[in-house]
């Protein structure tokens, strides 16, 4: 049975009760390599049916969710019954709202069969990678990394008449080069929709240049440094900020975006520079679902919002906080318009220099490659800790003069926005730390005053 037929059959099984059905098919292919040889690989296909049953009673509206993989045609009614039972077992939902109807979202190419990927999408890439590994082996470099492609087709239906479909291709490539003695390391990543735009030889050449920079080693102590963060590092810090920008907890007084005494900090200036942080389902090269797909409710997501149209949202405009992620329910609590989370993120100031130009204009500072193991230390200020990884370089008088030891940093991305000295040109990037969860980002390199390197890490 097709996912479209599954949606219709599940809705029919709800016998006129309020219900949301999400039928998904996903296929993936991946390759992983280490030390110039393949380590693991695989292909997978999954099929998931999620039924959200709504149980309306005098004392409130209940919602129960059952999500099951590999449901056979003869099990669809069973899943619907299980969801109805879950709803009946629950207590009233604070986020209850009307389900969205036919006019809410563009149905897309509803009738088309679901998309599918397989190992052949990586065929040309695997051959190029084999060449790159042989070349690296000859040049005394070791290559490590991972390539993955996923295609997910989502079919959403509600008992109120909504039908919406979204096909999401997601590809990512990470390439890590190390010297034969493992003391020097460099990294590059790419987000891609189909691997047709990946140039593995060019990425490897860039890494070889960086390993060359690291032949001269410079030991520096912990301290605050003028620091150039490349787009991937900016992405990892600002994605964390974005994930921490929920309306409900801000309203409750428990995040960095809470206003002392009550309310949120929407309207506060976070940066003196005219920066914009935004999400847009239609962003070029970063396309993502143009409507809410919510398998479960959370602080700022709601199963009742399934199908709610998503449009370009500015979280920070001209340096000021302008929106927080919210469901219709949490937006009401916050007294703000409903602005649900969107699966991409762009930070820009309109123009700006490239990273090589920013290096050239640096008198003395650190150039990072990427960040790692980022965790909250203090939610009051959104103080984060983490490590530099795969190359910290000393820039002196406009040139890279050597590689510096790694550091543990303690920094808040909110505080950092207030210390931006320069914002470069925005480009697509793969967030190194968060690419398991978030791959669609466009970020500029930035120059930060006094980035807090709290201690030295011996890791190389």
């Amino acid at each position: 049975m097709s996912p479209q037929e599954t949606v219709e059959r599940a809705l029919a099984a709800a016998n006129g009760g309020d219900c949301v059905v999400i039928a998904e098919e996903a296929s993936t292919a991946n390759l992983r390599w280490a030390g110039n040889t393949l380590t693991t690989n695989g292909v997978s296909q999954t099929r998931q049916l999620t039924v959200i049953a709504v149980d309306k009673r005098a004392d409130g509206v209940r919602a129960g969710v059952v999500s099951r993989a590999g449901v056979r045609d003869d099990q669809i009614e069973e899943v619907v019954r299980a969801a109805a039972k879950a709803a009946a077992d629950g207590t009233p939902a604070k986020d209850a709202g009307d389900l969205l109807g036919a006019s809410a979202a563009d149905p897309g190419s509803w009738e088309e069969p679901p998309g599918r990927t397989d190992i052949t999408v990586l065929g040309d890439f695997a051959a190029d990678l084999g060449d790159a590994m042989r070349a690296a082996d000859g040049a005394g470099r070791k290559l490590y990394g991972f390539a993955e492609h996923e295609l997910r087709s989502t079919f959403l239906g509600t008992s109120a008449g909504l039908r919406a479909r979204h096909d999401q291709p997601t590809g990512r490539l990470e390439l890590n080069a190390k010297s034969a003695d493992m003391t020097r390391s460099a990294w590059a990543g790419a987000s891609t929709r189909d691997f047709a735009d990946v140039d593995i030889a060019a990425m490897d050449a860039g890494l070889a240049e960086r390993l060359g920079w690291a032949r001269r080693r410079v030991s520096l102590d912990a301290g605050r440094y003028e620091t150039l963060l490349p787009p991937t590092a900016v992405a990892d810090l600002l994605i964390y900020l974005y994930w921490s920008a929920g309306a409900k907890e801000a309203t409750e007084g428990r995040t960095v975006f809470s206003k002392p005494g009550g309310g949120t900090r929407v309207g506060d200036r976070l940066s003196a520079l005219p920066v914009t942080l935004s999400s847009d389902p239609a962003a070029a090269g970063l396309g993502c679902a143009p409507f809410v797909i919510a398998h479960t409710s959370g602080e700022d997501s709601s199963v009742f919002d399934n199908g709610l149209p998503l449009t370009r949202t500015e979280w920070i405009s001209d340096g000021a906080l302008t929106a927080l992620t919210s469901s219709r329910h949490s937006a009401t609590l916050a007294g703000l318009p409903a602005t649900p989370g969107i699966d991409n993120l762009t930070f820009a100031s309109g123009g700006g220099a490239t990273l090589p130009e920013m290096i050239a204009s640096t008198k003395r500072g650190l150039l990072l490659t990427c960040l790692w193991y980022i965790r909250t230390v203090d939610p009051q200020t959104l103080l984060l800790t983490g490590l530099t990884r795969d190359g910290v370089y000393l820039v002196e008088n406009g040139e890279v003069t050597g590689a510096v030891n790694n550091f543990r940093f303690n920094e808040s991305p909110v505080s950092m926005l207030g210390r931006l000295a320069e914002v470069g040109a925005t480009e697509p990037t793969l967030p190194r730390e968060w690419s398991d969860y978030f791959t669609r980002a466009a970020m500029p390199p930035v120059r930060v005053e006094g980035f807090n390197m709290s201690s030295v890490s011996q890791a190389s």
């Binding site: 690989n41 997978s44 590999g70 207590t91 428990r254 005494g261």
Partner: protein, 503 residues
Amino acid sequence: MDDQESQIDEEFTALPLRDLADAALTQARTLGAQHADFRAERTRNQQIRLSDGNLQRLYDGDDAGLAVRVIVDGTWGFASAVDLTPDAAAAAARQAVEVARVAAAMNTEPIELAPEPGYGDVTWVSSYDVDPLDVPSADKISLLAHRSRELLGHDAVSHVDAALAQVRECKFYSDGATTAIQQRVRVYPNLTAVAIDGDGRFDTMNTLAAPAGRGYEYLTGTGWDWETELAELPDLLAAKLRAPSVTAGRYDLVIDPTNLWLTIHESIGHATELDRALGYEAAYAGTSFATLDKLSKLQYGSPVMHVTGDRVAEHGLATVGYDDEGVAGQSWDLITGGVLTGYQLDRRMALLKGFGRSNGCAFADSAGHMPLQRMANVSLAPAADGPATHELIAGVDNGIFIVGDKSWSIDMQRYNFQFTGQRFFRIRNGKLDGQLRDVAYQATTTDFWNSMEAVGGPQTYLLGGAFNCGKGQPGQIAPVSHGCPSVLMRGVRILNTAEEGAS
């Protein structure tokens, strides 16, 4: 059917598991695979979340599928499928062989596996009394709502988050010589209280009950004293919000098992994974400073440090009967008298590096993923006649007693780490003297463990753990436990996190 098999999810045992395995293994061998193994899995999970006593999430997940792993001419191939039919199993075997042939162009190290005895048809079920997925949702919601309301009844508490995660994991494995059917149950209940003062300052405090390989009885009195903890929590939170900010510097630390388990996880558990030491995780999770050339030489910690890996501890989250390569559960030394003496292995690495038999650390989190070397229960042994926690505290003039885990971060070779906690008590002249705020401890792994002066006795021992240790690409999660006693560390660097965050 024996007693254990009767405990296993009937819908899982009703599947044609042996027919699926036969279809896959026969197809793989026909196509030239030198090795083939087959898994079928069903994992049910339920998540319940309440916000201020109101139900926010009631989610029932049910994941199932099959997986075929082959070695063809020395190269791995892996494929999984969602339909549990013999045709789908045979198709997955064909796909796995095709993947191996595509991947061969990139492979320079022929794959071979360490031998393991065949165990025939075996069944294993983890230790629990009440399957949480058999308990009506309404009862679980009611219990969490009641506990939330009790906390909210205290003046200091502004908000309460309550969560209960429950998992029932069924695995069928066959490589021809061993056919194992297994079921594990685990639960993770947690409540977080939030306090906000008039100046907009806020703080939180979590309950300390660790996720555990136990059933619903863990929420109702077995293995954890909820009543006492929930009664104490609001006052502890109120005192924490009013507490003075710590003065950064070096302090002696007494660390409670509720905090130390996570430090063990990050600085010993991951550092003694052989795949990391060999570089297989170099581009992602990272490598390890504890490289193979340091085996039997590295003074990892002080002589009072004895650490084991195991797959057998009762209620341990990494405990299994057989791993995902058919290797029986075992216990072995990782650190002995402070010296590195072992690693966590799978069958491929065990043979490659001359360890002989694998110690059973292959695990995949679902049929959709290929097994990786994943963490065993890695635990620090108590001293047989060792001191109680208050006796360790009595030996400190100027220090901090740290309870409960919170924030964690460690570098990609497991040298430099930084941890915070739930509760920090000042120690003056051998006695506790109120709480402190804004505390983090930061150290290099071997410096930290070599500063360990004493480990507590068995009466201080507790099994901590996590549901969701991440590793590998594609990313996989794994549950794991860490047992440890209270410990006394000398001269550890303490940061003031408010100062760290000041612009």
